[in-house]
C-alpha cells in the first residue's frame, strides 16, 4: 500500500507535478503532510449519496399551504403532485414558501425529519460567488462551467467547485486531513465504483464489493502469489498505463483481505434493505461501519450513487420509484445506525447534478435546471428545519435564470459541504484549505448543530 519515495518522485517527474499528489493512497506520507490531527475522540462518518441524473427537488419538497401549493401546481401542470399526498414536515412554517411537505414516497425520511434527525438545505447549487441574476446573465464567468450538463453538474457537487473537470472531490480533500484516522484502509470508501468524491490531493478511495461477484471463481493462492510477483515488475514499467494498472492491482490485492474481514464482522440484522443496487450498497456500507474496529478507523467517508433521476419524460412514476428506493433504504440504514448506537455519529447527505425545470415539457417530464434541495440526516444534527431560502416560484423572475424555472441557488454547495467538514471536526484553517471558495459567500458555512 505504501509506495516508495523513489517511485513517488519518479511519478511526479513523469506527470510534471510538483510532488503534491500521489497516484495511490499512502497513509504515512499524508501524516507527514498534515501534521495537525483533527479531534479524534470518537467515531464519525459521512455517507454521501449522489442522486444521479438531476433529482427533481421541486417535487421532493413541495409547498403545502394552499396559496403556495396553488402557485406550485399552476407552474408544474401535469407533473404536479396532489396536495393531499404530501407528507407534512413539522417546523417548516417559517420557510420562505411557508410550510412544506415531502413527496409521498419519503415516509421514513419524513419521520426522521419530524424527530428532528433530518434537515433540508434549500435551493443549493454550485456557485462562483454571491451574484444576482443580472450579474450572472451579463458575465458568463460568474456561472459554473457548463451549467446544465450532467457530468459537469455532478462533478461540481462532488468537488464543491465550479470547474467542469475538477481534479479532486471534497470527500477526498477532507480525507487528506483525516487520513491518519482511517486505520488500515483508505479514508474514502465507495459503494458505487470509482468516484471523483474519493479523490483527494494526496489520498484516494477504494471501491467496496457490493453484492456477489457474479459467480466468478477465485484464483488459486499459488497463482495469486505469482500475480503479485509479476505485478512488482509491471509497477516499474516504462509504459505509463501499465505502471498505473500495476500499482492499482498491488494495492487492491493487499486491501482485499481487510475488506472481506471488515464486511463479515459481526452480524448486522438486514433491517429492511431492499434488493436494489442502492439497497445492496447501503447495506454494504452499514456492514463496513459495523466492522470499523477491524479497519481501525475513527474517521471514514462513504460514497454511494442512486439513480436514474434524469426524468425528462413521464416523470411522476419514475421519480416515485426512485424516491421509494431511496427512502426505504435510508430508513433501513438509520435503523442499522440505531442498532449500532451510531445514530449521532454518522451523517448522511444527498447531492444531485441539478434540479429540474419547474415547468414541465411536452413528454410529461422536466429538463435540466440548477438550484436544488438536498437532505442531511443523522449525525446528531439539529434537524426538523429548513436551512437557506426557497426560490419564489416566479417564472422568469429574479430567481429564474431563464423562463422555465431554472432556480438560481441561494446557498452554494461549498456552504453546505463546509458545514459538513466542520461537523467532521475540521478546524478553521483546515476548512479554508479544503473549501477555498467559502470566503466568497457572505453567509459562510451552514451550521448543522
Amino acid at each position: 500500500m505504501n509506495i516508495t519515495r523513489r517511485k513517488f518522485l519518479n511519478l511526479s517527474a513523469c506527470t510534471g507535478m510538483a510532488g503534491a499528489t500521489m497516484p495511490l493512497w499512502a497513509n504515512a506520507l499524508s501524516e507527514n503532510a498534515f501534521a495537525q490531527n483533527i479531534n479524534s475522540s470518537s467515531y464519525k462518518a459521512v455517507v454521501l449519496i449522489t442522486l444521479i441524473g438531476g433529482n427533481d427537488g421541486n417535487n421532493m419538497i413541495v409547498p403545502i399551504s394552499t396559496t403556495s401549493y396553488s402557485q406550485y401546481a399552476a407552474l408544474r401542470g401535469a407533473i404536479a403532485l396532489p396536495q393531499a399526498s404530501l407528507l407534512p414536515l413539522n417546523g417548516t412554517g417559517g420557510s420562505t414558501l411557508g410550510p412544506v411537505g415531502f413527496h409521498p414516497s419519503l415516509a421514513n425520511i419524513a419521520q426522521r425529519f419530524n424527530q428532528k434527525q433530518a434537515l433540508i438545505v434549500a435551493n443549493a447549487g454550485p456557485m462562483v460567488s454571491d451574484a444576482t441574476k443580472e450579474q450572472l446573465l451579463s458575465d458568463v464567468s460568474l456561472q459554473p462551467e457548463l451549467l446544465y450538463s450532467h457530468p459537469a453538474g455532478q462533478a461540481q457537487w462532488l468537488s464543491s467547485t465550479t470547474a467542469a473537470l475538477p481534479e479532486t472531490g471534497w470527500g477526498g480533500r477532507v480525507a487528506d486531513i483525516s487520513a491518519s484516522l482511517s486505520g488500515s484502509l483508505p479514508p474514502v470508501l465507495s459503494a458505487s465504483g470509482s468516484s471523483l468524491f474519493s479523490v483527494g490531493r494526496t489520498v484516494q478511495g477504494i471501491a467496496l464489493q457490493v453484492g456477489g461477484t457474479g459467480g466468478t471463481v477465485a484464483v488459486p493462492t499459488g497463482l495469486q502469489d505469482a500475480i503479485r510477483s509479476l505485478t512488482q515488475q509491471d509497477m516499474l514499467s516504462d509504459n505509463l498505463l501499465v505502471s498505473e494498472v500495476a500499482h492499482l492491482r498491488n494495492s487492491a490485492m493487499a486491501q482485499q483481505a481487510i475488506l472481506s474481514e471488515a464486511s463479515a464482522y459481526g452480524t448486522l440484522p438486514t433491517l429492511g434493505f431492499s434488493e436494489s443496487a442502492f439497497g445492496s450498497a447501503m447495506k454494504t456500507i452499514a456492514q463496513i461501519i459495523n466492522g470499523r474496529s477491524i479497519i481501525g478507523a475513527s474517521r471514514q467517508l462513504f460514497y454511494c450513487a442512486q439513480g436514474n433521476y434524469d426524468t425528462h419524460q413521464r416523470q411522476l412514476s419514475g421519480h416515485a420509484t426512485y424516491l421509494t428506493d431511496l427512502d426505504s433504504n435510508l430508513g433501513a440504514f438509520m435503523n442499522a445506525l440505531d442498532d449500532m448506537g451510531l445514530t449521532d455519529e454518522v451523517l448522511i447527505c444527498t447531492h444531485s447534478d441539478f434540479n429540474r425545470t419547474m415547468q414541465s415539457n411536452a413528454t410529461l417530464g422536466s429538463d435540466h435546471a440548477w438550484g436544488n434541495h438536498q437532505l442531511i440526516l443523522g449525525g446528531g444534527i439539529t434537524g426538523g428545519r429548513v436551512v437557506g431560502t426557497f426560490p419564489d416560484l416566479d417564472l422568469g423572475g429574479s430567481c429564474d435564470m431563464g423562463t422555465q424555472g431554472l432556480w438560481i441557488p441561494t446557498t452554494s454547495v461549498t456552504q453546505m459541504t463546509a458545514g459538513i467538514g466542520s461537523w467532521m471536526g475540521l478546524n478553521t484553517s483546515q476548512i479554508a484549505s479544503v473549501f477555498p471558495d467559502l470566503v466568497k459567500f457572505q453567509g459562510g458555512a451552514i451550521e448543522l448543530v
Binding site: S194, V217, L241, N361
Partner: protein, 779 residues
Amino acid sequence: MSTTEYMSYPSCLARQFCILPALLYLGLLFLLLINTGCSANGGQPASSEQIVVSTDNETVRTGDTVVIRATENGSPVNDGRWEVLGGTANGQIDKDGTYHAPAAIPQPNTVTIAYVVGSKSFTNIVQILNAIPVISSASPSVLHGLVNAVIISGDKFVKGATVLVDGQPTATSFIDSSHLSATVAVTVVGGTGVTLSVSNPSPGTSTSAFLELPTSVAPISISPSSLNGGNVALTITGSGFTSDMAVSMDGQILQTIVNSESSMTATGFLAPWRTGTVQVAISSKSTSTPLAEQPIPIAPTAVSFDVAARFLTQAGFGPRPDLVEHIQRIGLDAFITEQQAIAPVAIRSPDMNIARIVNNAVLGTTPLRMRVAWALQSFLVRSGIFIQATNFPFEEKMEADSTGNFRDIMTDVSSDVSMGYFLNLIGNAASRDPSVHPNQNFGRELLQLFTIGPVMLNDDGTVRTGSDGTPIPAYDEDTVLNVSRALTGWVNAPPVDPEFTFYGADYSASLVPNESQHDHGQKQIFDTILPAGQTATEDRTMTLDAIFAHQNLPPFVCRILIQRLVKSDPSPSYVKRVVTIFKDDGRGVRGNMAAVVRAILLDPEARSGDTSPSPSDGFLQEPYLFETFAMSITGFAGADDQPAAVPCILTECIYYPSTVFQFFSPSYVIPGTKINSPEFQLLNDITIINRSQLLWGMITGQQGGFIKPNNSDWLYQNFKTIPALVDALNHLAYHGQMSADEQAFITNYCSGLQTNDPLLPSESAVFLALNSDSYTVSH
C-alpha cells in the same frame, strides 16, 4: 610376490627394451632372497628344479597360436609334458609347446598352461583376445538407398562385432564368423561412396581394414521451395525411401508418410513468427542418423507476425491466429481495404441475443467494421429495451456506417427507434401550451455527446480557452432549446418487420415525421437560420447540416475514435493529422469514415509502437475488449448469454449502458495523475480483482458460457511444452514484447507446478500471460 609374477616376468628379459626394469626387478629379487629367506616359489622349499614357463606373447587371438617354452636355467627342458588347464574350450597345446587358442573366447579369457614334471607343475597364463576381423566384400556392392541393409562378408567376425560406416558404428547383426548384416546409411547424398570396416569387440578390440563401397543415391528434392508459417506440408522426392525414414524440421519430427520408394509427405507446424530458413532433414529412425539435410527458406511476409498481432488490437477484436497470419501475408493497408469492402454480416433469428454479436466480432469475417461500430457506439450511446433484439438495428447501422459518412451517422442516430426512446425523441411534440416546452434530452445530448462536445476545441483536439484560461462553451441554452424545437414531430413508423416489432414499435424502421407535432416556427442554430414553415424533415436536415459544419465536429469525433482504437492520450499533432482527413478526404469530402479510420490506423504514431514502444502508447482494455481479445487468443466462443454478461460484471454492460454518459468519459484522468485514460474509470480495486477471476474462470472452463469449437485449440495443439507455449504467448499476445523476466518467471512457475492435473501448467501459463498488467494495456 607370486609364482606367476615371477614366472612371467623373465619373458620381459627376452626383449632388449625391457632390460632396465628387468635389472631393477632382479636386483629387488636378489634383495628379497637374501632378506626374507623365502623362496620365490611362494613358500615351497627351494628345489633343484627351477623350471620357467614363458612365452613370446602373453596374449593370443582366437584361432591363433603362440609358442610356450619351458626352460631351466635358460636351457629348454623336455622331460615334462604340456597341459592346457580347463579342457579343450581353452585351447590345445602341442608337444612342442605350440599353444592353439580356441576359436571362441573362453570365460574367463585367461588360460593357464602348465608344464608338468613329475608331481610338479609350472604354469604360465595367456590371455585370449578376439581375432582381428577381415573384411572382404559387401552385398549389395553398390548402395542406392539412403538406408541400406548390407551383408558384409569376411572372416574372423565374432559375436558383438560392429560394422563401421565412415568410422561410425551402425546397427549390426552377427550371422556367423564370415557374415555380418548391418544397416548402412548414406549421409552424403550425391557422394561417391562409403567406407566400411568391421570392429570386433573386447577383449582385444580391433578393426579390420577398410572396404570402399560405392553409393549412387538420387538427389532429393523438397517442395515447396519456400514455406509459410502455420501448417506445413512437405513433399519429398528422391529414391530409396523406406518406412525407416523420418522427416524433421529444425529438429522437430514431422508426421511422415512414405508414399512410395521415391516419394514422401511430411506434415507439421511452423511457428508463424519464424523468419529465415528451416533445416529440413531426413533421418533413419532405426539408426537415428541424419541422412540428408536441406535448408528451406521461410517466405518473407508483408509484415511480421508481431506487427500483425499488434494491429489486431487496434483493427479488430484481438489477435486471432488465422487473422494474424492473414494480415502478416497481405499487410496492414491491404487488410484495411479488404475489410472495408466486405459488407456487414447481418445476424437474424432464431437467436438474436447480444452473445451472437460478440461471437460475430470474435469469430467472424468483419472484425474491423465491427470494431469501428463499437467505437462509434462508445459515444453514440443508446440502449435497447430488455428484449435483446431491439439492439440489433442500431448495431447494423453503425457497422454499415463505419465505412460511410459521418453526416449519415447523424441521420441514423436521429432516426433510430431505440435511440428515440432512450433520449425521448419519439413523440417529442411542439408545445402549444406556453407553460410547457419541448423535451430537451435528445437535443442537448446530440450536441454534448454525439457531435461537438460541450467546449470549443482546436483542430488538434486540445481545449480552446478564453483570456481567463477557462474553456469556452461550444453551445448555449438557446441552441439546446432551438435544436429541441427543430427536432420535434418524429414518431414510430407503422411496423414493417415483425422480427423487430415489440410493443407496437418496429425497431428496424426509421422514425417518420408527424407534422402536427412539429414546431414550425423559426429557429436559429449557430449561424444557420431555419425559416418558419419548414417541415420536420427540412428542419432536421438543416439542423444536422449546421451541426455537421461546426468546427468542433472533426476534432471531437476524431480524438474519441483515436482513443477507442489506438491510444488514450494521443499527441495533438496525431489528432490534427486525422482531423485533416476528416475535413477533406483528399477528394473534397468531409466526414469520410473509411478514410478517417485508415488515417487513424496507419498514422506513424499508431505504428511506432510496432518497433519502438513509447511510454504514452496504448489503451487499457475496457472489459468488452479484455474479454474478446482473450477469446480471440484462446479460441473460445460464447454460449448462452455469458459473453454479454461478463463485461457487465466488470461494470460495462455492453449494449445496455445505464445512462447516455457512456461507460467512461473521454476526458477521464487517472486520479492523482495527469494521465488521460478513459477506461480507467471502470478499473478499481474491486473490478481489477474480478477481472482476474473472470479470466481464470474462462480459461479453466469454470466460467459458464465459454466453449471451444473444434480446431480452436491453436495454442495448446501447436505448442506442447511450457517454453514453447510461453514463446507463442509472447508473439501472439504481446507482439514480441513480453519481457525476458516475465517469460522466465512464467516458464519456471508453470514448469515447476506439482499437480495431478495435466492441464494446469499450460492453463496457468495462458492465465498469467493474459492477466498481467503489461498485457491488459494494449500498447
